[in-house]
Each structure stands twice: as C-alpha cells, then as structure tokens.
C-alpha cells in the first residue's frame, strides 16, 4: 500500500486529506471478477441442489440412505392440508416455509422446491441450464483465482498485507482486535492503512473456503475421480465432498454478509472506490 502525495486539501478548515493507493490493479480486477463468478456459481449451484436437495456423508447417498441435511415439503396436521417447507440438519428440523422447501414463484403461486426461484439461475427448475452456468463460471473462477494467487505472490500482497505478523498473533492482540470489532470501533489513521488481524484471518479464511469449493467440486466429477482418486480419500467420498461443497458455500455467504456490513460501517463510498480506482481516503485520527 504505497502512500501517494495528497495535494487535494478540500477546504482550509479541514485537515489535509490523506489518500493512499490501497489496492493494486490485480487485486481490484480479480476481486470483481471473483464477486461476479461467486454470485453466479452460488445461484446456479442452488439450482443444481434443487434436483436432489439432500446431503449425505460417505461414498454414496440416495433416497433410501440417511441424509445429513435435507430440504423438503410436508402437510403438517391441523393446517387444512396446506403445504409447509422444512429444513432438517441432523436431528434438528425447522420450518422454513417461504424460503426452503416451499416458496412462492414470481406469479405468487406456491411451489414445492428446495431453494426459492429468486435465489437460483435460471429462476425456474432447469438443471441442464443451471449446470451450463455453473461449469462456465467455474472455469472463469479458477482462472481468475490463479491470476490472483500468482499476482499476490509476485507483488507481495500475500506476504505484506495478508499473512499476520508474529506480534499480531498474540492472544492479547487478537482479543483487543475482537473487542474493537465488538464496539464497532474501526481503525483510523495509520491503523486504517493496513488490514487488522481479524481482517487478515477473514480474507485468508475465505481463500481457503474458495479453494475447498474448487477441490470438492472436482471430487464430484467421475472423470476427476478416475484421474485423481486421492481426492475421494481426502474428503471421505463423493457424497461427503458434495456436503462439504455446500457447507463451504454457506460459510462463504456468511463471510460476504459480514464483509458487506463492514464495508457499510467503514464508509461504503470510500471502500468501494478503493476497490475500483485503488485510492482510499485514510479516516483521520480522532481529535480528543
């Protein structure tokens, strides 16, 4: 993160605005391609899930086998035979009518489907087209990811910005950082010029999730299984890989929710601009 001169001082009554060059072009470009790919992969992935909305553990799994997670519809007693949607995770079943299991389509008609139409590509039930979207953007996602990793190794982004320093890994430092986040006290001044340790952990963690999704995705391919059977052993079978694929995607959605919330809290215009043009206005230190 190179500092650049800041002649733009705004009005005389304000302190000079400090602007740094926060994100290099490789980071910015791959960030947006990644955001596009992940969105389309998620939505087409939910379309694929709709074809068999049950997740198993092990080498095999189908209708007669025990599902670890499932989305289904039923007609509970005492509701005039009306359909309701349910989500079961292990022994826990919760009603999710309107979202999972049973939802309304764009015409308002009730339909029995695991994932609602607004969350899938295409919106109607269409496994064949969903797969076309999924695999096209999977290729783009992998190529983009390789560009990001290679670029970040060459330009030092990984070493300089993402890997935590030894002092940052002390429990005291991490607890302090968690406390700052809990109080929504965001870094200012020099502290805002670099990622804090929770941020580093989150970005490295989501990187691991994305790699995990590519690997579990490949483990679902019978062609890849013949070529690289060790991947089946690594994940404990094709159906385990499918379940991990789903859980990693869910965890990534959770990351994105927090990520977007942090962007909003930290100042959305400044943050989004820094990811488009690279330029970031450093929030001034509190005068107290």
């Amino acid at each position: 993160m190179t500092e650049i001169a800041s002649p733009d001082t705004g009005s005389r009554s304000q302190a000079p605005r400090e602007i740094i060059y926060r994100h290099r072009v490789v980071t910015r470009l791959t960030h947006w391609v990644n955001a596009l790919c992940f969105t389309l992969l998620l939505m087409s992935g939910l379309q694929i899930l709709n074809a068999h909305p049950a997740l198993y553990w092990g080498q095999f799994g189908a209708d007669d086998d025990h599902a670890f997670i499932e989305f289904f519809a039923a007609r509970p007693d005492g509701r005039d035979g009306k359909l309701a949607g349910f989500t079961r995770i292990g022994p826990l079943t919760i009603e999710t009518t309107g979202l999972f299991g049973v939802s309304n389509d764009s015409d308002g008609d009730v339909r029995v489907i695991a994932m609602p139409g607004w969350a899938t590509i295409p919106a109607n039930r269409d496994l064949a087209t969903g797969r076309r979207w999924h695999f096209f953007f999977a290729w783009l996602f992998v190529i983009n990811g390789l560009v990001y990793v290679a670029g970040s190794l060459i330009n030092g982004h990984l070493r300089r910005d993402l890997l935590p320093e030894r002092r940052e890994l002390s429990p005291r430092h991490i607890l302090h950082d968690i406390w700052n986040h809990v109080r929504l006290k965001l870094p200012k001044g020099d502290e805002a010029k670099r990622y804090n340790v929770l941020q580093k952990g989150a970005y490295l963690g989501v990187g691991v999730l994305l790699i995990l999704m590519v690997m579990t995705g490949l483990t679902m391919s019978p062609g890849m299984n013949a070529s690289a059977p060790w991947m089946l052993d690594l994940f404990g079978g094709r159906q385990s890989a499918r379940t991990i694929h789903f859980l990693a995607a869910s965890a990534t959605v959770a990351f994105i929710v927090v990520h977007l919330a942090m962007v909003l809290l930290a100042g959305p215009i400044n943050e989004i601009r820094s990811m488009i043009t690279g330029r970031f206005v450093v929030p001034p230190e509190d005068k107290s």
Binding site: G10, F136, G223, N225
Partner: protein, 256 residues
C-alpha cells in the same frame, strides 16, 4: 468559504462508476439473452479437453468392496418400458431378444443373451453418479464393449458408438438413446452389463442389457439397450446432440 463539490477528479470518478455500472447492466442483459447459452456451452469443450488430457493413460474408475455397496440402489428414469414388444420380451424371459451391432462395421452381428454370456466377462463394483447429485454403489457383470466392437470390425471412419434403447422416457418423446466416443468405448470398465448385484439385471435397472461407462454420469449409462450403431457423427440420430438428455440441454460429455 468556498467548497468545490464537483472537482474534476470526482467527476471522473462519477463517470467511471457510471460506466462500470452501465457495462455491468449491459453484461447482465446480454447474459440473459438466449444466445448467451451458446457461450456457456463452450465450457463443455474445455472440460472435455482437460479431462481427456488427464485421463490419457485410461485410468480405471474406483472399484469398491462388497461391504461398500448401497443397501438400496435407486432406480431412475424409465423403470418399466411401455409397449407390446417389451412385454413380449418379459413374457419369454428375453429369449427372443437380440442385440444388433451395425453401422460402420465390417461384420454386423445379432447376439442373443446366451451369445453375450459366452463372451469374456468383467465384474466391477462401482459408484453410479446421477446428474441430479445422488450416488449409489452396485456390482455389475457384463461383456466389455471393446471386445464386441473388435469382433464387429470398425470401419476407419468410425468415431462414435450409439446405443438405441427400448424405452420412451415420456409419452411421444421418442426412444432413449446415448452415445460415447471410441476413447470411452474401448475403456476396460465400459461393459454391457446383464447382471447387477449377482442377479439378472432387474427391469427397473435396464433389463436385459445396459451400458456401464464408469467415468461419466448416470444418463450416459443407457438402459434397455437393443441396438449398437457405429457412426462417424451423431448429427442424424435423434435430435442430433448425441443422446436423449443431450437433446434436452444436458452435456454430451458427462465426466463432470
């Protein structure tokens, strides 16, 4: 006190943001257009070429032990073919059934089930993966397809092997069919299976004969096979995309 709200830089930033939003919106509209499906379909060739490179030494699909087998092997698609012809085969226990091998071959053949069982046999416990996402492990016994094709003597321009089936998936849908290329046709685990889990192949799983092409998804594993046609291309078969589900938008290469 003067305060410039619109500096040249902020105008440039505004312009750039508007341009990105515009390109993004135009891109989204373009992606929703039917023509974009053709662009998406190009990924199939990337996958086919990548996997063929990785599989060039023809590794086997994983074979499992009897203890790994699914307690219940799900039957999917057609589970009882309609029509009088199939009912007659069932009534005479497939004694009048024949497998025809024709097309671009020097030696067309017509084989009974007894003829098939006299050929070399292969037994394999493999995992069946449906395009819908589920998997089941079962035991299959049959004749390696490559062995049959060698006897039929392929013409030099032979490129694909088409499997014609006895079932209609939907009313008026036309008969089920599938195709593989010679790379998969001659793979040692590609067999014409007449037995499943040590029993005669059940009707729900494609009696009397189904294809096993272990490194691809379930819809490639044609059930109720009655004729094997060797062709140089599959454009003139069915609706021209190489299979029943391929004609309905699914990939011809189902290795993923």
């Amino acid at each position: 006190m003067t305060r410039k709200l619109l500096t040249r830089r902020s105008l440039l930033n505004l312009g750039a943001t508007a341009a990105i939003a515009g390109v993004g919106y135009a891109g989204f509209r373009a992606m929703s257009a039917p023509g974009f499906l053709g662009v998406l379909e190009s990924a199939e060739y990337a996958t086919l070429n990548a996997q063929r490179a990785l599989l060039s030494n023809q590794p086997l699909a994983r074979e499992f032990s009897p203890s790994d087998m699914s307690p219940v092997f799900k039957a999917n698609g057609t589970t009882m073919p309609g029509g009088v012809a199939y009912q007659e085969f069932l009534a005479n226990n497939f004694s009048s059934w024949r497998l025809r091998i024709d097309g671009l071959v020097a030696n067309p053949m017509s084989l009974s089930m007894a003829d098939l069982k006299r050929q070399p046999q292969r037994t394999q416990i493999t995992r069946h993966d449906c395009v819908e996402g589920w998997s089941a492990i079962g035991k299959w016994t049959g004749v390696p397809l490559g062995h049959i094709l060698e006897q039929a003597q392929l013409a030099p321009n032979a490129r694909y092997v088409v499997f014609h089936c006895l079932d209609d998936v939907y009313e008026d849908s036309g008969r089920y069919y599938e195709s593989v290329d010679l790379f998969d046709a001659f793979h040692p685990q590609t067999i014409l299976a007449h037995s499943m889990n040590d029993q005669a192949l059940p009707v729900a799983h494609g009696a009397p004969l189904r294809l096993r092409v272990e490194r691809q998804l379930g819809y490639k594993h044609a059930k109720y096979v009655t004729r094997i046609e060797v062709v140089d291309n599959y454009a003139n078969v069915g609706q021209g995309r190489g299979g029943f589900w391929e004609d309905r938008g699914y990939e011809w290469y189902a290795g993923i």
